[in-house]
């Protein structure tokens, strides 16, 4: 019997969000618990179990196909969260096993970006697509790659690090220790670095000069107001992203590239020039074939939905 529900758990640095999804992506029984501040991992697990129990008090556990978890550094193969920089537990946390044992439900874990890709395939902009790339432009850049209808986890579960493809050889220093990673240019963090560099190096008027603490949102607002430097900054960001995506297309030949996250919401300022630069840099056999689309998942629930999609 096909079970009609799946539980999604999105583990973030500050809060953990839970919800029950049906096969169309309708969420119910949503709740939020703190990720931090527990006496230990066991207490956190008990809090999660309590939340799941609240769900299974109204929906029979027989109707739930499983639990999906999206977490930073979540590894699909081992079911472990490994050395996640944003979480207070260090080392290897075998969270899938811990929850499976206590719940009696299958628990599947992966990282946030992969979970979002699954969410797009199940409920979002990639329904019916077998080959696509989902890219998250947030504080950093994450990505989930689907080929032949399956997530590309790689042999170790760590595939899909598009944000750490070298976009500019010997370019900006990245937190990963190398230079020129795409996420140092094309994330919310990256676009602010570009703006600061340009404001220091270039003359020219810009409303961006009026901010003490510049954010990606300020740059977006300035672009909306027609500020020339802000528009140029988006164009530069789009160029680097378009070039990098053209190379990724040569490798996996996706039908669609889906954009998610804060910077992706800058919409026309980013996606339109990204498309132009990607096409300019594509090998001829790939030209005019790859669609660029914004995510079709609701911003606030995307992570829970993505996590739940793992459980089908």
């Amino acid at each position: 019997m096909t079970k009609p529900y799946a539980i999604g758990i999105d583990i973030g640095g500050t809060t953990t969000k839970l919800g029950l999804a049906d096969r169309k992506g309708n969420l119910s029984h949503q709740s939020v618990v703190p990720t931090t501040g527990h006496v230990g991992l066991d207490e956190y697990i008990n809090v999660l179990l309590g939340e799941v129990k609240q769900i299974t008090e109204t929906i029979s556990i027989e109707k739930i196909s499983g639990v999906g978890i999206g977490a930073p550094n979540g590894n699909y193969y081992t079911g472990e969260i490994v050395d996640a920089a944003n979480l207070e537990w260090k080392g290897r946390i075998p969270i899938a096993k811990m929850l499976t044992e206590k719940l009696g439900l299958p628990v599947t874990l992966t990282n946030d970006a992969n979970a979002t890709a699954m969410g797009e395939m199940m409920y979002g902009a990639a329904i019916g697509k077998h080959d696509f790339i989902m890219i998250t432009l947030g504080t950093g850049v994450g990505s989930g790659i689907v080929a032949n209808g399956q997530l590309v986890y790689g042999h170790d579960g760590f595939a899909g690090e598009l944000g750490h493809v070298i976009a500019v050889r010997d370019g900006r220093q990245c937190g990963c220790g190398r230079k020129g990673c795409m996420e140092r240019y094309c994330s919310a963090t990256g676009i602010v670095i570009t703006a600061k560099e340009w404001l220091a190096e270039k003359r020219g008027e810009s409303v961006l000069r009026s901010h003490d603490t510049l954010t990606a949102k300020h740059i977006h607002e300035a672009a909306l107001a027609g500020d020339e430097m802000a528009l140029d900054i988006f164009d530069y960001t789009a160029k680097i992203l378009g070039q990098t995506l053209a190379d990724a297309v040569a490798i996996t030949s996706p039908e669609v590239i889906i954009f998610f996250g804060g910077l992706a919401n800058a919409g026309a300022f980013l996606l339109k020039p990204v498309k132009k630069y990607m096409e300019e840099n594509l090998l001829n056999i790939f030209q005019d074939k790859v669609e660029l689309l914004p995510s079709a998942l609701p911003d606030t629930d995307a992570a829970i939905l993505g996590a739940s999609a793992l459980a089908w």
Copy 2:
């Protein structure tokens, strides 16, 4: 019942090679026919049918699981050879359909590089591997990418163009119309271009100066003899290849990268420094995990074996 044999057909620009493979990669009934010089496509197909008939006269067709074809620009999804530069038929050649109808056996088509990747997985260096990259360093650079145990064809059948990833932004002019493609540096053609550029630009003694028509083989021989410029040329080639592979690893996280083709035979001069440069450029989570291996398929039969592997 599992059928014990498969027919492999390797369509090259000059000759077409056929053979019957068992599940261990033992070949029998090999034959070679010209690809060119036939009155038309139908005559060529009839020649192929005649060769297959010779096989089925000694081995019952009931024992043959199917026919696999490797061909330039062969498309897995459509079964067509499309505008192959090295073949005399232009446009779309629905070769899989034409042969299936006349043979009564399933016929599967893909391009040479993908066929070789399948051969490595079935009989070669990737037996039991589910995530790997096969890269052919010949006149050009081809590649076949396997994820989750399946070839990554992409939505259109054209995935795996690692040779056309931009290795050097605004670099050497490529035949594809763009600049800086990896194959302009890391193929037999590319290494000769490097040598010619260096001989013109640099001073320094080198036995390479004594050749009127320089080939990759000359450069390999010079390296074997300890010629310093030849060794530096290999090091430069390896650096660009290692950098490009590091980016590819970030995308698909393969367990192994397998090297095939003329330039790959330069072995230690290439693979050892490629490994070094790849490791230097890898994101930390991928370091010391990816094995680089030479192909385990016999050079002369690799293409037939690869083609046959499609039929299982």
